[in-house]
Amino acid sequence: MTTRTVGEGVQRREDPRLLTGHGRYLDDLGRGALQAAFVRSPHAHARITDIDIGDAWELDGVEAVYTWEDLPGRVAEPLPVLIPHPALTHARTGYCLAKDEVNHVGEAVVMVVARDRYVAEDACGRITVRYETLPAVVGLDLARRGERLVHDDVPGNVAANLRQEVGDVDAAMAAAPNTLTLDLAIERSASMPLEGKGVHARWDTDDGSLRLYSSTQTSTGLRAAVAAKLDLPLAKVEVVTPDVGGGFGVKIVHPWPEEVLVPWAARMLGRDVKWVEDRREHFVSSAHERGQLQEVTVGFDDDGRLLALDVRFWHDNGAYTPYGIIVPIITATQLLGPYKPGAYRVEFWSVYTNTVLVTPYRGAGRPQGCFAMERTMDAVAAHLGLDRTEVRRRNFIQPDEMPYDQGLMFQDGRPLRYDSGDFPSSLQKLVDLVGWDDFAEYRAAASTEGRTVGLGIGCYVEGTGVGPYEGGHVQVETSGRVNVATGLTTQGQGHETVLAQVVADELGVPFEDVHVTTGDTRRMPYAVGTFASRGAVMSGNAVALAARGVRAKALRIAADALEVSPDDLDIEGGVISVRGAPGTSIDLRTVAVLSNPLRYAFDVSAQAATQFAGTFDPDRPPVADDDEPGLEGQDFYSPTQATFANGMHAAIVETDPVTAEIRILRYCVVHDCGVMVNPMIVEGQVHGGVAQGVGGALYERMVYDESGQLLNASFMDFLMPYASEVPHVETDHLETPSPLNPLGLKGAGEAGCIPVSAVIASAIEDAEGFPVRSMPISPAELWELRRQHASRTDPAQEGAS
């Protein structure tokens, strides 16, 4: 076996290109293409009464102006409901261009195509849309009251209502010696990749075919949707995902209106057309996430063991539901984390508001679920006067109980069954890393300096690597170059590197010889997409299986050539040799030549595969009945269920006694995502996730006024953390392999952000001595909480009975 690269922090293949300005992001393509811009609704809820194109046409360089009236056939129909669910009784999706009514600020109404973006925007400025405004439904409180409606035909604004129950909650709760009720809230944030969305369409008039480039998290999903919308044969549509400047969930939604309109316009005009989202557009016309109100009632014994957990929550799904109810389903199921809840009932209502739609953002409902569970754990500990780690420890699922079935249905329609994990060991590592047991001393020392500090904790389990499948294609060229293709896309996770590591090891070739392509439907037309921390699990295993097939074929051909048994052969460094007789060998590239019987030699090495070159059995066909030419193969990995990674975080915060400023002094992470293909990349994913979590805990929120205007739709006003706000993250890892897949992998992409709001709330609570029930929290809000609690007698007993 060649020196293994799996498990090594191999430097990334993609970096030299990205560091020198040679990345190819969407807006780097299509120089000279026509550019689109959109007139978008300034109102959150209104009827369109008139669209006056005015003199937009008279501007030099304007090529087309489109409204809904101009759209033909299926382009004019509502966008698809991507993930239907029986509980999603009132799914509603928007149109590519608004028809009659707008339901959030930023909804596209008119499309302009022009020589460049400057001219297109000039033209947009000359178009007048008249509206009759309607009362806007903003915020969960107003939405769930159901007095004002977002959609006239959706009573109570309820898109979906789903309830799951395991055990008899009412009986268990009634019998519980202690109960507590917590009212909790989490505000909206958003994925906010540094590169917004973008689409570039090349219509080939001669061929009647479309090549679409999009900054997407799913090229195959987009291809199928666009072909259906434009009524084109699938064979005439290819989707290529270039370098993508971050996704974090928002780019898994498809087709966005622009992803339909841009190729449609390119076809109409017979010209390349491109649209690149600007930052304000991203704020008001992409997607947000997180906003929920939660009500948790917990029953527990005097040792802090949970007996019953009853959760109800309201999920703000924005104006439309193209992505179904995946986010609240994940909240409802992943809320349980590493714990056994006793009897469990969860019910949610997913409700419409006149705001930007809500679809998965890194963590996808888990941060909210984790917040609910971890606030509950801390409340139980406070109620009983127990150490917070002890309460958690007493409720953990134990390693010998794995696999552990929580009895619920997960987001993939399959059982919520944890495959592996060692929660007590993870917690012990965290306790050691942060110095949990010495914190009292630390706090006392800080106190003598007049400083207030607190220690917080949060634990989570993350279902990763959901199906249905991914594919891998591996091809060895006669030069020895190995081409690997998988269909899911890449937004910075380093798939070019990680998948090359896997194939290099499986095939026994140098890492440098392996070249990976992702997200190109020309190379792998069967794929799902990049979401749910599934890239390494799904495509890693798919390319491993494909490489194993190619390896077996290579050994078979080599065995024929060397007249030995394949069982005696090994591949190392791209050379196949007889074990114990290194002199008897053949290069893999020569095997690639032999694998493809030739009539015509294209170079000297290829002469070996031509008809007069050597000995062969004249009674057998050159390509056997059960064989194919070429040293290549593909395979698919399709699991029966998700794998479940886990992690535990702790933080020390300091709160300023006067200004209520909140500073994170230390942040510690223990993470278990099974086998790590590239620990450097896993660590980077954790760092980035924590940074986004810190943003969500302390800084980021979408501030809507009551009329549905997003007041902070810029990077100046929406406070994403800079280096000055993100703490140094200290990490430790467990590697509990997943028994479910050949490589033992679990996903890592989303992990870092999941528990951060819970951890910071826990730490502030510990510092201040009163409960924190709503996140994010600003210094002003903390100051207000202090004021409220100073005037209360016994705040710790809130909600207790």
Partner: protein
């Protein structure tokens, strides 16, 4: 009948990465757009169009500047350096580029050119920063992927590589 375009082109001369380039663009053309779309130097990225994220940072006479907040026409007479000017060859990275690769200081890579230019200019003036200073030096640029930790590390590593280069 066409109205006169609001964007009548003007001849301009820009000095970019040591090369004098001429182009024809309207007075309102942003420097970022001129670099990317007129001159084809797409390494400079645009993340917010309002000067907050720093992805479009180029060096103007050696000083970091947001190219999305500057008109191309007003960049005439100044020496502009983009990420391509810091290092254009993937096989021969500059110390800052090399350090970012070694330390895993980038993921999606979209904000990276702005960090490369910013760190390069910073180290010219502060060749031996402390970790706190390194963090401060990059705290005007947004990155949504890395959590900054490995970029801080890369600043220190780049300083080390530059010292080795000089030695």
């Amino acid at each position: 009948m066409s109205a006169p375009a609001a964007d009548a082109p003007l001849p301009m001369t820009l000095q970019v990465n040591g090369v004098v380039r001429t182009l024809s663009a309207p007075a309102r053309r942003l420097l970022s757009d001129a670099l990317r779309h007129d001159l084809g130097l797409t390494g400079t990225h645009v993340g917010c169009e309002h000067g907050v994220c720093g992805a479009c940072t180029v060096l103007v006479d050696g000083e970091p500047a947001r190219s999305c907040l500057m008109f191309a026409v007003s960049a005439q007479g100044h020496a502009i350096t983009t990420v391509e000017g810091v290092g254009d060859d993937p096989a021969a990275l500059s110390p800052v580029q090399q350090a970012l690769a070694e330390c895993h200081g980038l993921q999606c890579g979209f904000c990276t050119p702005g960090f490369v230019t910013t760190i390069t200019a910073y180290l010219d003036e502060h060749p031996d920063p402390t970790e706190d200073e390194a963090r401060e030096a990059i705290s005007g640029n947004l990155c949504r992927c890395t959590g900054y930790q490995n970029i801080v590390k890369a600043v220190l590593r780049a300083a080390e590589l530059r010292r080795e280069e000089r030695a």
